[in-house]
Subunit: 333 residues, 2 copies
């Protein structure tokens, strides 16, 4: 097998984040479940945006954040996702390329605008997300370049891709192409409500070994196995998955493999300013470590390190170059 | 004279900021004078943007930042400025309205896109600005609603308006309308290079009393009077201007009036993260205090308080509601 050109290729919804501080009252008035992601249409996006205070815009998207994080750590990374040919789409493309990610998916010419996610950040640092998918809906199987997929050691897919119907097909095509090329496929479960929508399909993907590496948080894992017990969820995942990493907020994370279930401490953070991107950046560190053949606990620790940076400021992507920061933290990157 | 509907009306270039961290080497390679603002065309904006790392977008514009700051302090504020009918223009309009500013200037329909400012933030927190004026060029005298101007206690104009030729006419029209209605006119000198471009005209405006209140920093003041001595500049300004406030970074500011020259201490800041907006937010506090008839030193202190908040984080506008913050700081707002 040829050496991989890319360590990780991410495929996901290409989204620009609209971040606004808000309060608990706003979430209550809008009946929003704190910490969740929900899909909204164009009209609802306009209505909620109209109610929000001043906001800042920055590139987001779950797998896209992970891939940006990997590039920020000096990893070789590529991304496939659909933006529109508009100002927000150009911002998204710029931010990927500028951090060193190969991003060549052609933008959608005549259709919906670039996807955006209205992210409400409460004073406790939690984020609640309202996503208008726009052009991301139009990620098509034809956008999956099988040669590109075959040139990446790991192809990383987000569970959110199960929402746009065409993207699901793109997802399946990419996973099959990766395996044909002898590469690995990773999946993040994305969100507990997303798991609830697609539980059977996600379990099928994992059990059929269409997925080699599973990333999840404790909420998503409990939702996947419909259990209130994290331990029961971890045990079930160990039966079903080849390799998994499960985050549990300040409690750290668990690496789940044939060798057993190993707990890894979280990197301490002085104050959680904005939890947006925490899981995405954990995935970045973990996947880069796995791609480089690190011991799994070390890969998980790098994930926690990257997550700690992103939750200490507003926004879902690193504010500093993680490669330099991680070296200072004792990681050889 | 009727009570003013608005305490301050701002007129300025309506700009979206593109903030990116950079280093001294980049400034040297591009021959950029640190801390300055320069105007660039669309092609140059594309070229520099292409060289920048990942960025975040947020509403900016000098007078617009001031007006947003006044609204954030609970002041009654309005703004006149030209955006395009595009995604960035809608972001700008949203952020003004969402903070409580009345902003009703119709967007430019078929023309250049919304103005943007590429702001390079160096590790020392200084910012260097590259502005593509776009639609802001098309601020027209017809955009100046004289009834609106007459309904504001202070009309605040930015020196940067001297760059787009039509905006200069809009500026003159607004200043005349304010005085006809018995209101005050304030001017910020904006930037030392801007002063260098329009020194004679700015001096004429001040000496002819077309301007009642001058805002400047020490660099701009020295440029205005072509002197290396801050003291000489302050003395000359006291001869020419009815009222002025001059900031001098960590040294605090000077209130210049017929009563004399009074120095007011700066509000201490733990670490300057990003100096963008410092002068704009100082102007916000000072002008709101003046509009409310506060003692001038107290108005200047409120300006320093507002500036201290904005330089302690990335971005040119308050991250927290200044009204609450200022109350906690002992200001009755």
């Amino acid at each position: 097998m040829a050496e991989a050109t890319y360590e990780v290729l991410g495929i996901g919804n290409a989204i620009v984040d609209v971040l606004a501080r808000t309060d608990e009252r706003f979430l209550a008035e809008e009946s929003l479940a704190k910490g969740s992601m929900r899909l909204i249409g164009a009209d609802e996006a306009e209505r909620i945006y109209g109610r929000l205070g001043p906001a800042t815009e920055s590139s987001g998207g779950s797998a896209a954040n992970t891939i940006a994080g990997i590039a920020s750590m000096g990893g070789r990374a590529a991304f496939i996702g659909k933006v529109a040919d508009d100002q927000l789409g150009r911002i998204f493309a710029h931010d990927m390329t500028a951090i060193g990610v190969s991003f060549t998916t052609p933008p959608l010419a005549d259709g919906a605008p670039t996807a955006r996610c209205l992210i409400l950040v409460t004073p406790d640092g939690e984020r609640t997300m309202n996503t208008y998918l726009g052009a991301a809906q139009d990620l098509h199987p034809a956008d999956i370049d099988e040669t590109l997929v075959g040139s990446a050691a790991i192809t990383f897919l987000e569970g959110y891709l199960w929402d746009p119907p065409l993207a699901k097909e793109a997802f399946r095509k990419a996973a099959a192409a990766a395996h044909r090329a002898g590469r690995k496929v990773a999946l993040t479960l994305s969100d507990s409500f997303c798991v609830d929508r697609y539980r059977g399909e996600f379990l099928d993907l994992i059990r059929s070994k269409a997925i080699d590496i599973v990333l999840a948080n404790a909420h998503e894992l409990r939702s996947l196995y419909e259990t209130s017990s994290l331990e029961a969820g971890l045990a079930a995942l160990r039966q079903d998955a080849t390799l998994a990493a499960v985050t549990n907020s300040v409690e750290g994370s668990f690496v789940v493999s044939a060798a057993g279930i190993e707990q890894v401490a979280a990197t301490p953070v002085e104050r959680v300013v904005d939890a947006t991107g925490a899981g995405d950046l954990y995935a970045a560190g973990f996947l880069l470590g796995v791609a480089r053949g690190w011991p799994l606990a070390r890969a998980a620790a790098l994930g926690s390190f990257a997550a700690a940076e992103v939750i200490s400021h507003m926004g879902a992507r690193p504010a500093e170059r993680l490669q330099d920061l991680a070296r200072g933290g004792g990681y050889a990157l």
